[in-house]
């Protein structure tokens, strides 16, 4: 078989295209990029022979040679596995390389050997690491049955499990471990003693006397009672410093707590950004060009991993649906372009009205959450017990209202968007953005209403201790309890919806014959909504970890169970969405939403740390006004040199100059990107014109050829080519007898290629 495997050959082994094209330097370099060095030398001789015969001048030979040399050195390190040749060729190539290898000096050999063994070590390590990944087989199974779109949801879930585990380990090692280890390492623990009078009263919440069983359950679900004064919540960490006499050093727990909080936020940020880097690059490239929907669907649309007949049928129908949607979009674009001014005015007016309506709905939801929070807090404070269920409902009132709002609003948004007359792709994105906003802001509203209660001490009265110490002797624990309740309730809702809505739905659709069941249809796994659900849970976790250090562990366990619940529900109940969600952009979309959640989570923490005075009755920051104050106090106790450095770093001069330098760097990068874009456009135009030039020249050459009398008739073309061959591609047909063998007749024309 011929060496050139990019282009097909006929039986005799010759490449069946115009030999003139073969001599073009661009074609030679294309061949070389795919060729082995050994065959390259053979090729060089052939091409040299041909070009000398055609007499096209020495410069072409030398340029070809130069290009070949350059590419040969690039080719040397290319892996055999990556060459598009058959197995027999690969084996020959390997032997040839071994032969070359023997010829090197001992230093060269040793270098090659170490390089090779290092690469193999790295590959093996990567192999082992990827085989140890959690849930590999489950995710493989899901991919086979449902394709890569849903796969991305589950690998996102796996990422969150890992993230929460790392955050928990961080908090544990920095905050909990010293406290637990202190008695065993004979550490001397100094507790916070602040004699602030009323401010430091913290009534014990342990239940006394005979406690009902359901009281324990209610405590477990709401984080009160026996759970309140445990490691679970902020209030337990009343330690200021731990002194270890064995190593003669003091561990400042207050500082550690603060730094751990900042650290886990930064860690999450870096990890998410790193993970989204590849997706972002691809997203930019994709957005740069015209959206290549049709080519992408035809050539890269079929998911080759599918091995299940049903899944294949579904994939086919979803591809069909996508193509039809795209055709529809083209038609809509046409329609939009034809809109009259009157139509435009009507549509803009309608959109404005609907947006106002949406804002109104959101405001109503937020007000509902605010009222629910107030009611819940008042019920807790008044401590009147009606009965078990009503108490529990009052406890969970904010969670219930948030969940209801998050259930109704997406339905409402998807109905409203139909009237706003956008293109289908934009509709999906806009609805999603609205839902994201709704979900993440509802947590913010809850926290805001909590804070307004905490810092409200009565009309026209300023708070004595900086917060309302009568109602909230330890307000951080109370906020932690709210976050804990939200997490638990979220998990219960997900499990309950799966059990009590999806399974019955499947049973009804499967066994009932009535038209209503058929219309309702089988459950679809709606990826965007599910992703929003887990991002919501993760945002709560981020906010809550400061107030409830064990929350990441709880979230890890929660996501662990959610994986299995969702997987079972998917396999048993669902069919893939008829509106497919593309894997490529979906990965990027998930991480963007997660980043939004992270930013929205860091706002409340920043406010709690810096603005609101910390409790004086509990927690590690009793001796300070606000939690942030630990840092300046510690810095002032540091040695002179370090103190001077830190002051310089935080001074205005440094900040301003840093800001200026960052701005300059950003402007530079933006300018560079603009220049690259312009170069790319120019190159693209150049490519197009080169192609046209080539065609033109070939046609001219063929014309000139046919106009001359041919002297040596040994390889005369049997059928003379018509001078004006209309279609370009017929000259490259695989019919050998018709192609022009330019190599064997000296060209008189001066257009050398």
């Amino acid at each position: 078989m011929e060496d050139d495997s990019v282009f097909y050959t006929d039986r005799s082994g010759r490449i069946t295209s115009n030999p003139l094209l073969d001599e073009l330097p661009s074609y030679q370099s294309l061949l070389y990029r795919r060729k082995q060095p050994i065959a390259g030398t053979k090729r060089r001789k052939e091409s040299r022979g041909r070009s000398s015969l055609s007499g096209s001048g020495k410069w072409s030979v030398s340029t070809v040679n130069r290009i070949e040399e350059r590419q040969k050195s690039q080719m040397e390190q290319r892996a055999i596995r990556e060459l598009p040749i058959s197995m027999a060729e690969k084996r020959r190539h390997k032997e040839q390389r071994l032969g070359e290898h023997q010829g090197l000096s001992s230093w060269g050999q040793w270098r090659q050997n170490t390089r090779r063994s290092l690469k193999r070590l790295r590959d093996d390590a990567r192999e082992i690491f990827s085989s140890m990944k959690l849930w590999r087989r489950d995710i493989h199974q899901i991919e086979g049955m449902f394709g890569t779109g849903i796969l991305s949801y589950f690998s996102f879930l796996r990422f969150l499990v890992a993230l929460n585990l790392i955050i928990f380990l961080l908090m544990f090692s920095l905050v909990m471990l010293p406290i637990i280890v202190a008695p065993h390492a004979s550490g001397n623990v100094t507790y916070n003693q602040r004699d602030g009078g009323n401010c430091s009263i913290y009534p014990s919440t342990a239940r006394r006397g005979l406690v009902n069983f359901h009281q324990h359950i209610s405590d477990l679900l709401s984080g009160e009672g026996f759970l309140e004064q445990t490691l679970l919540f902020y209030g337990y960490y009343k330690v200021d410093k731990i002194h270890f006499p064995k190593v003669n050093s003091t561990y400042n727990l207050a500082l550690a707590y603060l730094l751990a909080t900042v650290a886990y936020l930064l860690l999450s940020l870096f990890w998410i950004v790193k993970r989204s880097a590849t997706g972002f690059k691809r997203h930019l490239v994709q957005d740069e060009d015209r959206f290549q929907s049709f080519c992408n669907k035809i050539f890269a649309g079929w998911d080759c991993c599918i091995s299940n007949e049903n899944a294949a049928k579904l994939k086919r129908s979803s591809l069909l649906y996508e193509l039809k949607t795209d055709l529809e979009e083209e038609r809509i674009k046409q329609k939009i372009a034809e809109r009259t001014r009157k139509d435009k005015c009507r549509i803009y007016f309608l959109r404005a009205v609907l947006n106002l309506f949406v804002i109104g709905v959101l405001a109503a939801c937020f007000y509902g959450i605010y009222v629910a929070t107030n009611l819940s807090q008042e019920a807790e404070i008044s401590k009147t017990k009606v009965n078990f269920i009503t108490d529990l409902i009052y406890e969970y009132l904010p969670s219930i209202v948030i969940t209801l709002a998050n259930f109704i609003t997406p339905l409402l948004f998807s109905v409203i968007i139909n009237y706003e007359d956008y293109s289908p792709a934009f509709e999906i994105r806009f609805t999603l953005m609205r839902c994201v906003f709704m979900r993440l802001t509802s947590i913010g509203v809850l926290l805001f209403s909590l804070w307004s209660k905490i810092t409200y001490c009565g009309k026209d009265k300023s708070c004595g201790c900086g917060y309302n110490h009568e109602l909230y002797s330890c307000w951080e624990t109370r906020v932690g309890q709210e976050m804990y309740k939200l997490t638990i309730f979220d998990f219960i809702i997900i499990a309950a919806v799966t059990l009590f809505v999806e399974f019955p739905r499947k049973l009804i659709v499967k066994y009932s014959q009535c038209g209503l069941a058929k219309w309702w249809g089988q459950q679809e796994f709606a990826i965007p909504q599910n992703v929003l659900e887990i991002v919501y849970g993760q945002t709560i976790c981020w906010i809550g970890t400061f107030f409830c250090p064990m929350l990441p562990a709880i979230c890890t366990i929660k996501y662990f169970f959610i994986f299995y619940i969702k997987k079972v529900s998917l396999i048993k109940n669902c069919r893939p969405a008829t509106r497919p969600f593309r894997a490529s952009s979906s990965h990027f979309f998930f991480l963007v939403v997660l980043l939004i959640g992270l930013f929205l989570a860091s706002l409340p923490i920043a406010v709690s740390l810096a603005q609101i005075s910390c409790s004086k009755a509990c927690g590690p920051f009793v001796n300070y006004t606000t939690s942030w104050e630990v840092l300046p106090v510690t810095v002032s106790q540091m040695p002179e040199g370090a103190k001077k450095l830190l002051f310089a770093l935080s001074s205005e001069a440094f900040a301003v100059s840093f800001f200026v330098v960052t701005c300059l760097a950003m402007f530079y990068v933006i300018a560079l990107a603009g220049a690259h874009k312009r170069v790319i456009n120019q190159l693209r135009e150049q490519l197009a014109t080169e192609g046209r030039d080539k065609r033109f020249l070939i046609q001219k050459l063929c014309q000139a050829q046919n106009n001359q009398p041919v002297k040596r008739s040994k390889f005369q073309p049997r059928s003379p080519r018509s001078p004006s061959s209309p279609s370009y591609h017929t000259s490259f047909s695989s019919n050998v007898s018709e192609s022009v063998f330019l190599a064997h007749s000296p060209p008189k024309s001066s257009t050398n290629v």
Partner: protein
């Protein structure tokens, strides 16, 4: 992307062969010998290879097998078999996949993906569910998107350029075995 080894070791070649030989043999146990030490020239026909679960549901299975077979008719020797799964595996580099994808989609093997090739591809994908006007429209749009040198068909350069911007290509164009 892709492993950057310079050679196969003997052990790795063995490992590949042992793992895939079982799969190759179970396609045609009467044809394929257990003993491959003397490199027998056995070729499993196309009709048996496309019954593999990994290929069964793929609309391009015939073209894939034909592309990787030496004789171009789809009868694969064991070497071709290993080659196919190696080129289509997850860690295979993008350039390699692009080259083979071009060959797979080029039905008439003229080194260009012309409109007829595109129409055949589309019909295989959708199993004839689109109307002929829709098929023509989609093919026109696809050529319009990808054709750079305005010759109304896709050369390898056009194809490569288009695939490099296709976001789903790498994640979809691989077979797990």
């Amino acid at each position: 992307m892709g492993n950057k080894q310079t050679t196969f070791t003997e052990e790795q070649l063995e490992a590949y062969q042992v793992a895939l030989h079982g799969r190759y043999r179970e396609l045609a146990p009467h044809l394929v010998p257990l003993d491959y030490t003397n490199n027998p020239d056995i070729r499993v026909p196309l009709s048996l290879i496309v019954t593999m679960p990994e290929l069964k549901e793929n609309p391009f299975r015939d073209r894939i097998v034909e592309t990787f077979s030496e004789d171009g008719q789809g009868n694969m020797s064991f070497n071709d078999f290993v080659d196919m799964f190696s080129a289509l595996c997850e860690t295979s580099p993008r350039e390699l996949k692009t080259i083979y994808a071009f060959k797979i989609y080029d039905y008439n093997r003229d080194n260009f993906i012309c409109k007829e090739d595109l129409q055949k591809t589309l019909n295989k994908l959708t199993k004839g569910e689109l109307t002929p006007e829709e098929v023509t429209l989609v093919c026109d749009k696809a050529i319009e998107e990808a054709d750079l040198d305005a010759d109304n068909k896709l050369s390898f350069a056009d194809f490569e350029n288009m695939i490099s911007k296709a976001p789903d290509f790498l994640s979809n164009f691989h077979i797990r075995i």
